[in-house]
Every structure is written in structure tokens, then in C-alpha cells.
Amino acid sequence: MSEDLFNSLVDLREDHALKIVKERLNAGIDPYSILNTCRDAMVKIGDLFAKKEYFLSELVMSGEILKEIMEILEPHIIKGLEKDNKIGKIVIGTVKGDIHDLGKDIVVSMLKSSGFDVYDLGVDVPTEKFVEKVKEVGPDILGMSCVISIGWESLKETIDALKEEHLRDKLKIIIGGGGVDDEIAKYAGADKAVKDVMEGVNQCKRWVGA
């Protein structure tokens, strides 16, 4: 593991981290070993977030640096190999009636960097679209974001529709966003309600045994 790259990423020194990645690639270092160092750094950043030493802003900035690193590494990575390393499949979207995408988008990027295969349906997603996608890809997890009270019924409707289609038992359902809590999870029939990004990502990882 390159400690210099690891530390640059953890310290969010963007320019320095990108410079090291380019230098290491030019020196003929295996791109997968660079990628693994980045993943280790992301785990460390997640730990710092859990300890409240880092916050959402640091998660977002680390995601941005990782995205830039991936753009550099992409041409050197054999297509398809990454796919095999996926730890689980998740369908995600903001429920019908709610157009907030900020929290959902951050969760999506953190899930991707944690190794999930993510199907993002966007915002204001109607029940039938969730059901259709679940049928199509057979995910391990369905994630629904809900920020405002108007989405409470949409959560319930979607989960009821999955039950009717006999799809509910085959997947875990996580809900997140400022508009939800345990009571809403119970009302809607979800398995878990979470309020912060890493709590959600860690719960998903636990469910797929990662």
C-alpha cells in the first residue's frame, strides 16, 4: 500500500493525491493496487466520520477526489473485472412526490465506492417504477429516500406493491432522509430507517455480509 497516496486521500489533499496516482501509473504500478489503496483510504474516512472527526463535507470531498482518480485509472483497468468484485446489488431512488436528490446522490456515490452495483432511479420515482426495477434486476436491497412528509404514503404504497408482487421477502428495504425515522419505517413496512449516509452504507454492507 502506498502510504503517501493513502494519507493524501485521507487528508483530502486533492492535487497531491492526483499527482501520486499519475506518478505511480507512469512508474508501472498495477492500477488495481492503486485502487485498493484508495478503497482502504475510503474505509479510514468512513471511520473518521463515525468518530465525528469527519463530516458529510469530508465524505463528499473524498468522493470527488476518488472520482477524479477513477477517471485517471479507468483506461488502465480491464473492463468487466470490476463488475466481478461487486459486493451486492441495490436499487435506489427518492419516492414519488419528493424531488430531493442531495442525500440520495451522496449515498449513491458512497455505495458505489464501497463496491455496490447501484441502480439509481432518480427522484419522484413512482411505485411502479420501483417495482419494475426490482423485478428486472433482483437486487439485494431497495433504498428509498424521503425528505418531506408527502413521501410517507409513497413509501408505504411502494412496499405494499412489492408485497403484492411477492417481491418483498426477497429483499431488504432501507429508507433514509430527513423525513424518516423508526416510526415511519414501521408504518411503511421497511426494515430500517437511517439518518446519516455512513449509517446507511454500513447497514447495507452488513446485509450483504461485506
Binding site: L12, E14, K52, Y54, F55, L56, S57, E58, V60, M61, E64, G97, D98, I99, H100, D101, L102, D105, I106, I148, S149, I150, W152, G178, G179, D181, E183, I184, Y187, K195, D196
Partner: protein, 391 residues
Amino acid sequence: MQEVGRSMSLDGNELYKQREERIQAAINLKTPDRVPVICTECDFAWSFANMSQREFMYDNEKMMRAYKKFYEEFQTDAAYFHPILFHPLFYALEFPCQIKIPGEDLPEDSVFQIFEKEIMTEKDYKHAKTRGYIWTVMNLLPKLRPGIPDVKNKFMDSIRLRFEDEDTLANYKTFKEEWGWPLWYGGGMESPFSVLCLARSYKKLVHDIYRTPDIVKQTVERFTQDIIKMSIGGCVANGVKRSVIGLHREGCSNFSLKIFEEIALPMIKEIVNAHVKENIITILHCDGDWNLNLPYLLELPKKKCVVDLDDSTDIFKAKEVLGDKFCISGNVMERLLSFGTPQKVEDHCKKLIDIVGEGGGFVLKGEAPREAKAENIKAMVNVAKNYRVDK
């Protein structure tokens, strides 16, 4: 309810005086005759009055009917939102982002929503940091409200209308003199940091803070000057010496404490100090998790702020940290008022009064969404009016 019976014998002016004194006692950390109670109503009042949000937003007669029904029914101590019709251009000043309006982009009975994406670009900082907030919003208008001809002039008209419209002025008079309800706040604005965050979008602002922190700081400082003027202007126009500053993004659920210390806290101090010079109380609407930010607020002047918290922050801890210095308001939240029972609401409100209300300096505040149950709002108000009264 006890209060309803009592209020029947008082005219509007007397009721106004009584309610205002109760609020001011709480802000001054005294123990009023009872804990004041307020409730956000603009997402609930229209549904409670059997109309659509669109009617409430655009029809003055219907809006006032909905407010009257709400306040007659629940008898809280101050009107939360102002009796002003919605204007999509003026709203750009409060929330510089795209919006989805019931009856236009959303169903009529939906609620108004903001749509956050990058409106202000990196290049826009160049002028924003020198020319300020109003100039920036005016220049973003074609992107904020696309398709409106002569949008800049119409925007300036919307600002004038806000303060000079005859219906609006009559509404204020009705609230105060006829119905006897003080306004919870006279002026109100989103904070400079929050408006920048909305205009740039959250992710882009995070990148800016890491890449060009000095430019972000300069822009927030410049925006602060404009927002102070607007906030004070609102208070002067309404004669209510309280201003709500919306701190929707500053808490530790969104930004690190380092960013808070370096950018947000200096801005908050500047706003509060400018308000103090004008004898205005700043209501800090601390949205989201502020648990780790609370100690910083001790740097603000005593009794010059109300710290308004939702349930993401531990309000009982806030009392320990800030209770000797500031009035605290909160936190009967949407989910409790919608999914709770009157008993659950009562239990929560009693706990709030017992702990946060101990020794004074507390305003019981509910946030009622469209889905709130009337009996739950009544339960909240009943506790304020009857529990530990005069104790």
C-alpha cells in the same frame, strides 16, 4: 381550553399585548405566566381549511380564511409565517434555486418544493464576492425562473409589492389589531452561507471550500452585508424586532466543525451583532444536527438570540449548554404531530416544559406538516396552557 375562555373577554390589542409579553419574557430568560406556544402552519393551515396549497399561495381571501381558522382553532401565541401571498420571483431572494410549484409543476394538493442544482457557476464568484447578494440573484434570475420576459424589472416589482401591497398591509393589521396575534418574527432570511449553498448546490460548495476557500469566505462576507440590510428592513417594515435567520446548512450534519468555525460562525456573529445594534433579537433556526455546534453559540451575546432546534439536536443537552444564555425553542416535530397520539404529544411536551422550560427561557414550538392531526396540535397547545402554569 382555559385560554380560549380567557381570551373571549379580551380585545385584539389586549390579547396582542398579553401574548407579546409572554414571548418577550421567555426570550429574556424569565418565567412567563406560562410557556409560550407557537406552531408552523403554512403546510397545514390550507389542508385544515379544505383548500389546495395553490389556493393558499395565490388567493388572499382564501389564505386569510385558512389562517383565521387555524388560529381560532389552536390559539397559539404568535403567528409563525407572514400573511403574504407567494411570489415566485421574490422567493428567489429567499431561496436562490429552482422551485416546483403546486398546480404548475406538482399536483395542486402537493407542497411547494425546492429543486437544488448548480445555478451559480464557479465564474459567478468573481462578481458575487464584490457586488453582493441581490446583484447575484438578479443575474441568476434567467436561470432561476426561466422563460419570464423582463424578469429583472419584475423581480424589483416583487420586492416593492412585498412591503407596499395593500392586501398585505391590511392582513398585518387584521392579524395584530383584530385577532391579536403578534408575528413570531418581523424580518427573516436564509443565512448567507445557506443561500450560497443553495445557489452553488451542496456538492459544488464543498468542492469550492476545499479548492478556493478564500473566495468562498469573501463571498459569504459580502452576502452577509446585504442579508443584514434585508433582515433589518423586514423588522423595520413590520415593527417586530425579531428576525429568523435560516441556518439550514451550517450544522454538523452537513459541514465540518472546521468549516463552521472558519466560515459560518463569523457570519452568524456579524448578523447577531448587527441586529443587536438595532435592538433586534436573532432567532437562529438551527436545522438538522447541531449537537457539536452548540458550544460555539456561547460566543454570542446573552439574551439576544433564540436557539430554535428540531429533533436532530438533543434539545435537553442544548438546555444544559445554552440555557443560562439563550431562550430555546422546539421541538414538537412533524412525525410526532402526524403519527403520534394526543397522549404521546402530551408526554413529549410535558418533558420539554419540565426540562427545557425549567427556570424559564423556553418557547414550545410545533412544526405541522400537511399530514398533522388537529387533535395532536391541540394536545400540544393544551399542555402549554395548562401544565405547570404560573409555576
